[in-house]
Structures are given as C-alpha cells and as structure tokens.
C-alpha cells in the first residue's frame, strides 16, 4: 500500500483527521496531567505515548478495510478516553493532597572513643546511632501547618516535635504555635543536622534538657523588617527530675505538668546587614520560671543559708541571655557565634517522712538554688564548597558561688539530722571548659562526614582526696577518680549524617 497516497486521499485523509483528533485529545489529557506532576515523567510518558499511538495508527490502517466498523470502534475509544479523563481527574485530586505532606529527616551514625576508661563502664569505644529523625509536615491549608518529628534512636524512641502552627493571613507577621517544640534559644533551635559540633554546648544541655518543651508560642516576624520576637509559655518541667524520699521521679509523666506554675520565655533578635562584608544577628532572651517546692527548706547557692519554704510554694528559675552571630564573606564563608547565659536555677528536694510503725523516719532534703553562668563561642570557616572547620570554646559553671578550692570544704550541716540532711558541695559544683574541634566533609547534598574531638577540662577540687569517685572500667577493673587531679574526659567522634 502506498501510505503517502493513502494519507493524501480525501476519504482516508478525513479518517486520519478523526484518528488524529482522538490521539491528540488523549495525548493532551495525559500530557497535561504529567506536566503537572513532573517533567521527567512527562518526557518518559511522551515517548511511551508516541509509541502507543504509532502502534494504534498502524492497527487502524490495517483495519481500515472494514470501514463500517470504524465509527463503532471510535465511539468505543471515545468512551474509553472519557473514562481515562475521569480517572485522571480523580488521581490528580488525590495527588494534590499528597503534595501537602512533606517528609524530611536525617540519621546520624557514629563511632566514639572515650580516652579515659573511667567514663563508661560498658565500653570505652562504640558504634551508635545518635539521632534517627523523621519530620512530617502537613500543610492543611495556607497558613496552617502540622508538624510531627519522632526520633527513632534505638532504645530511646521519643516524640521530639509535635505541634500546630497558625500563621496570620492579614499582616503575614504573626504565628501561633501550640504543642511540643524547640525552646526559643539560638543553639536549641539550630538543628543538630546543621550544627558544626557534634553536641550542643554544656550550658544549653544543662538548662534546656531535651531541648523541646510543651507549651504555646507567639512569634512576630514581619516580612519587611529584620526583627524576630518570640514569646512562649511552657509547663516548664520538661526533662527535669524531681525525686521524692523513695527515689521516685515525680515528674516522670512527659505529657502532664508537675505543678500549676508555668514558665515564660521571651526572645528578640535583629539581623543587621553589614553590606558586602556580611551580617550581624544579635539578640537576647529571658527565662522566667518557677517550680513547685516538694520540701520545706531551701538551701542557698553558697551552702550557708537555709530558709523556710512551704510545701507547694514556687522556687524561682530565672536567667538572662545575650547572643550574637557574625557572618562574613572572607575567602569563603566564616562565622563567629556566641551566647552568654547567667541566672538562678533550682533543684527540688523533698520533705522529711516521719517514722510509721517499724518504718524508720526519712530526713528531708532541702531544695537547692544555684547561681550559674556559662557561655560558648564558635569559630566556623568554610573551606571551598565541600569542607568546613569549626572550633568551639564552651564554659559552664553550675555554681558561681563555689570555686574549685571550696568544693568539699563548704557545705551545710544540719542541726537536726533526723528531719533535714546535711549537704556538702561536690562534683556538681565544678565548672567545665570544653574545646570542641570538628571537621566536616560534605560528600554530596545529603551526606556529611564529621570528625570531632572534644578536649574537656573540669575545674579541680582544691584538696586532694576530698572528692573521690570510684569506677569500674569496661574490663571490670575497679579504679578511682580524684577530682583534685585533671581527669581525662576527651572524646573522639566520627559521624556520618545522611539527610533527606
């Protein structure tokens, strides 16, 4: 058959037009759908569809001899196309719902070597999964977002984030968050997947245990002004331990407040542009919290004064913070970041328990209010596109009123040991300074390889033998650490992070 002649004949030409119009309609329907989904799918589908229609066309030519049946076949195909159209419309509606869900996350696998055998009784070196985070975000509608972020770390499963965010539609400047989320602090909010040192600094880990807390937050973040203000209210007891006389943690329920008191956090930051040089972000935050006393006495930070307090009265936990982050384009990116925090924290004691029958009396433990201070300073330098170097000096003094030489010297002696225990200053009052070094290789956009080394120096106790800590190493060998000497607490970390 002469195809060229056949195609150009009026009768067959008319037939071809009909076939073409069907093909075109089918292709348009499919391609429009595919274009919307993904251009790669579109390319692949275009090729497949072209081949399909070539086959269809050849079959049609072959069957052209049976002209009376053509109209019937076309009717059938028309119905099929209509059916496909309907199905595609439904599929498209379903797929558009899926685009509202975003899944991201990261896994950090690591090997750690602890230089001192005294630090861990199980192993001096081991492989572990530090974090296995998956973040699910669902944008239900413009301005409404649900976030759920579980951490699947083996043996330590936890819901890190679970919150709803409502953005205001009118000024586009305010948002309201309710649920469990990061406390408003620079190092807390800075994701572990981005942080330049393997772990957060000691001061942040001490005052914001677990980083996340349950509460509500109002944020002001105007579009055209570089200020960011956050005001949050929390239960305020997330990650804290409140032991009673039997050693039971009264604050073990993660999802219920331990007391009626609520803690308030307020943070304001400003982004100052430094032109071609870079930018300076600076700000401050304050934490104004209280926790319910479970004891009838409170001991001062210097171990000298015991005051009366009613069971259930508030114990103050207040501190202030100043922060800055300087970013500069000097032979590649460079930043210097710092934060200083000082204030008063509290540890809850317990009331004495009277003897009942044969059960002996248990003396109470006074609440303890410690003045603390700490800071950190990062220097981070990018080396080309693939490498980054970071050093951090991090200092935390949990009790600014007790120096190393006073530890195990200053203490409180109870006048009545049957109702209140004495308390001597100890290891928990020693300051710690850590120099953290890290080198990152960005293998690709998903993988980061980190070598980290922490050099940890604790404040020494003044008198030898005053604070002795026994330990058993990984081989079962017993030993002691005398905190009047330098204790090696250095840690080497090799970490690989996969982020998606």
């Amino acid at each position: 058959m002469d195809l060229k002649k056949w195609l150009s004949s009026p009768e067959e030409g008319h037939f071809c037009n009909i076939v073409y119009s069907f093909c075109n309609r089918y292709v348009t329907t499919l391609t429009d759908f595919c274009i919307k989904q993904d251009s790669k799918i579109y390319e692949a589908m275009k090729k497949s569809i072209s081949i399909l229609f070539l086959l269809f066309f050849l079959i049609t030519i072959n069957s052209n001899a049976q002209d009376p049946k053509v109209a019937e076949k076309l009717l059938t195909i028309d119905e099929k196309v209509n059916g496909i159209n309907e199905r595609l419309a439904n599929d498209e509606a379903d797929l558009s719902k899926l685009t509202k869900i975003k899944i991201s996350g990261y896994t950090q696998a690591q090997y750690q070597y602890f230089e001192s055998p005294a630090l861990l009784s199980t192993s001096q070196n081991y492989f572990s999964l530090r974090r296995v985070m998956v973040k699910l975000t669902y944008e239900a509608a413009d301005g409404i977002k649900f976030v759920l972020q579980p951490d699947f770390t083996p043996g330590d499963f936890a819901i890190k984030d679970a919150y709803v965010v409502l953005n205001d539609h009118w000024t586009k400047s305010f948002s309201f968050t309710l649920g469990k989320f990061n406390r408003p602090d620079y190092e807390v909010e800075y994701s572990s997947s981005q942080r330049e040192l393997p772990e957060r600094s000691a001061i942040i880990s001490a005052i914001y245990p677990g980083e996340h807390a349950i509460g509500a937050k109002l944020e002001y973040n105007p579009v055209n002004f570089p200020i960011h203000a956050q005001l949050a209210v929390f239960n305020g007891v997330d990650g804290l331990t409140v032991n009673n006389s039997a050693g039971t943690n009264l604050n073990a329920a993660d999802n219920i407040d331990y007391d009626n008191y609520k803690d308030i956090m307020a943070r304001v930051t400003y982004n100052l542009s430094l032109g071609n040089f870079g930018g300076l972000d600076f700000g401050a935050h304050g934490y104004f919290g209280t926790i319910k006393s479970n004891a009838v006495k409170t001991l001062s930070t210097d171990y000298t004064t015991v005051t009366d307090i009613k069971f259930g009265d508030p114990l103050k936990r207040n501190w202030l913070d100043g922060e800055f982050q300087l970013f500069a384009d000097v032979l590649g990116g460079l930043s210097i970041k710092g934060e200083y925090i000082a204030g008063k924290n509290a540890t809850v004691g317990y009331a004495p328990v009277a003897a009942v029958g044969t059960t002996a009396a248990v003396p109470g433990v006074a609440n303890f209010q410690n003045n603390f201070a700490g800071y950190y300073l990062y220097f981070i330098k990018n080396l080309g596109k693939k490498y980054q170097f970071a050093i951090r000096y991090d200092y935390y003094d949990p009790n600014t009123d007790i120096k190393g030489q006073d530890v195990a010297v200053k203490g409180f002696t109870s006048n009545d040991a049957t109702t209140l225990k004495s308390k001597m200053s100890g290891k928990s009052d020693l300051a710690t300074a850590t120099i953290g070094l890290a080198f990152h290789h960005y293998f690709d956009k998903n993988i980061r390889i980190t070598l980290g080394y922490d050099i940890v120096n604790s404040e020494k106790v003044g008198t030898a033998g005053k604070v002795i800590e026994p330990y058993t190493d990984a081989h079962g060998v017993a030993g002691t650490m005398d905190w009047s000497n330098a204790i090696n607490q250095n840690v080497f970390t090799l970490r690989i992070q996969a982020k998606f």
Partner: protein, 279 residues
C-alpha cells in the same frame, strides 16, 4: 595509649589532606540553575559567552527560582537564577551551610506580562481587577467588560519566583483553587493561546501568539503594556528585577562571566531576548 596517639596523627594527616583538597583549583565549568522565566535569557548568555570564550563552559538548567536557590544552598550549582528575592528562610539555610548571606546580582528587569487570548474582548485590566480575578473573586469575564464566560486561570507552580512575585504584588492573597498550575511560562502562554477565555501571567520574553493585556495601576491611571520605556519609567505597574545569587563574592571564571553579563554586550542580549537592561 600509644595506638591512640597514632590515631590522632592519622586524623590530623587526613584533615590536612582534606584542607589541601579544598583549595585545589575548581573546574572551569559554571553551573547555572533556577528561574524558568530566565532560562531563555540564561541560555542565550551562555551560548554567546562560550562562543567568545571557547575555554569556558556554562551549563544552564531551569526548574524554578525555588529549585535554583535550593541547589545553591546544597552546593549543587554555582549560580541560582531567581525572578524574586531570596526569602529570609532561604538565607538562614545558606548561613547554616556556608556561613554567608549570599551575593545578589540584579542582572535584568522584567515586566510581568498578563496574557490573554486574541479572541477575548477584554484588553486591559487594573491591578485590583487582576488580583480579584486570580483570587477567584471575579470569575466571569462579563464582570470586567467581556463576554459572559467563566474565566480560566493559568499560573505557575509555587516553586516559581514569578508565582511568588505575582502573588505578593498583584494577587495579595491566596490564588483561587481553580488556577491551573503549569511547569513553565511557555506552558502558560500555550494554554492561554488555546483557551479563548484563559488568562495567565509570566515573563515578557515568552509573549508570542497571545495578546498582552494592558495593565493600569488603578481606575484613573492610563493602561500600559510592558516596554523598555514603560518599565524604565516605572509606568508599567508590575515590574521586577531578575537576579543571580551566589554563595560568595564571585572570583575567577564566575566573576568574569558575571562581569560580562552586566557589560553592554551581556545587557544587549537582555533586550534581544525580550527583557530590559538593569542600567
């Protein structure tokens, strides 16, 4: 402990090796990714530049402004083309990854063009009417002086800088749910070309086979189409800059390329493609 000292020395050696690697000469190929609005312009720049600089290699791909900026943050491109400014959230990500705020280079001006089908009676609209049309408040052409026909909306995906700019400056709210999103300005033009009652928006360089809608600031203002004069004089009300973003201040081949784009030769191509020069 001896073995651990050896480990330390090995680590130090590896670190030094990696540092040395970091400073080895970068390949001469320049990668450019981002705005679909700018893709024709960027390809034209690359073609002409490579002709006059045979040793240079410039690879251009589209994907949308958001995609380009993401690639910049991930270190997957040297230059991100964007038809909108970088968002604060994107700057934060750039800070976290590269410790810089990025470098913004305005390389051309564009008048966002509103496309109409030649069969449509409506030839001009105010900014307010356009906003109402794309929000879905006005849904029939007769409400703006046209036929009694439903308005068909065609727009870009939310990764597009044009989508964001048009939303912030014209729509001033959420796009109507009936707005059909398409993966590129060419697709929008094509859709309006086929649909007598369609309306779409995009870059000026793509406006072929359709009618360019005249736009008025308000009821009392005169209507303008985007031309070199009306954009330069800011008479055309939907004008924007087109940007290139880099992680650091450009050096070497990239600096040479950007300097050339901003030179009279590079800016001449801006006009040829259908956009407007920055100077």
């Amino acid at each position: 402990m001896k073995s651990f000292k050896l480990l330390k020395v090995t680590i130090l050696a590896v670190l030094l090796g990696m540092v040395c690697f970091a400073f080895t000469a970068a390949p001469e190929r320049i990668t450019v990714k981002g705005s679909d609005t700018m893709v024709i312009l960027a390809q034209r720049w690359a073609e002409v530049y490579m002709k006059s600089n045979p040793s240079a290699s410039v690879q251009v791909t589209g994907g949308g402004s958001g995609v380009g900026i993401s690639a910049l943050i991930n270190g997957a491109t040297d230059i991100a083309n964007a038809s909108r400014k970088m968002k604060a959230t994107e700057k934060e990500k750039l800070k976290a990854r590269f410790n810089t705020l990025g470098v913004e280079v305005a390389c051309a001006k564009d008048g966002i063009t509103v496309y109409l089908n030649p069969a449509n009676k409506v030839k001009e609209l105010t900014i307010k009417q356009l906003g109402e049309i794309f929000r879905g408040t006005i849904s029939n052409w007769k409400q703006v002086g046209g036929d009694d026909q439903a308005i068909k909306l065609y727009g870009r995906e939310n990764s597009s800088g044009t989508y964001v700019f048009f939303q912030e400056n014209v729509v001033k709210g959420d796009y109507a749910s009936s707005c059909q999103t398409l993966p590129g300005t060419a697709a929008v033009v094509n859709a309006v070309k086929k649909d007598a009652y369609g309306i779409g928006y995009g870059g000026a360089a793509f406006a072929e086979g359709i009618v360019i809608c005249k736009v008025k600031k308000d009821d009392k203002s005169p209507a303008f189409i985007p031309t070199a004069e009306t954009i330069k004089s800011n008479e055309y009300p939907i004008t924007r800059y087109l940007y290139m973003y880099l992680v650091n201040r450009p050096t070497g081949e990239i600096k040479k390329y950007i300097d050339w784009i901003l030179s009279p030769e590079g800016q001449k191509l801006v006009v040829e493609v259908g956009y407007f020069p920055v100077k």
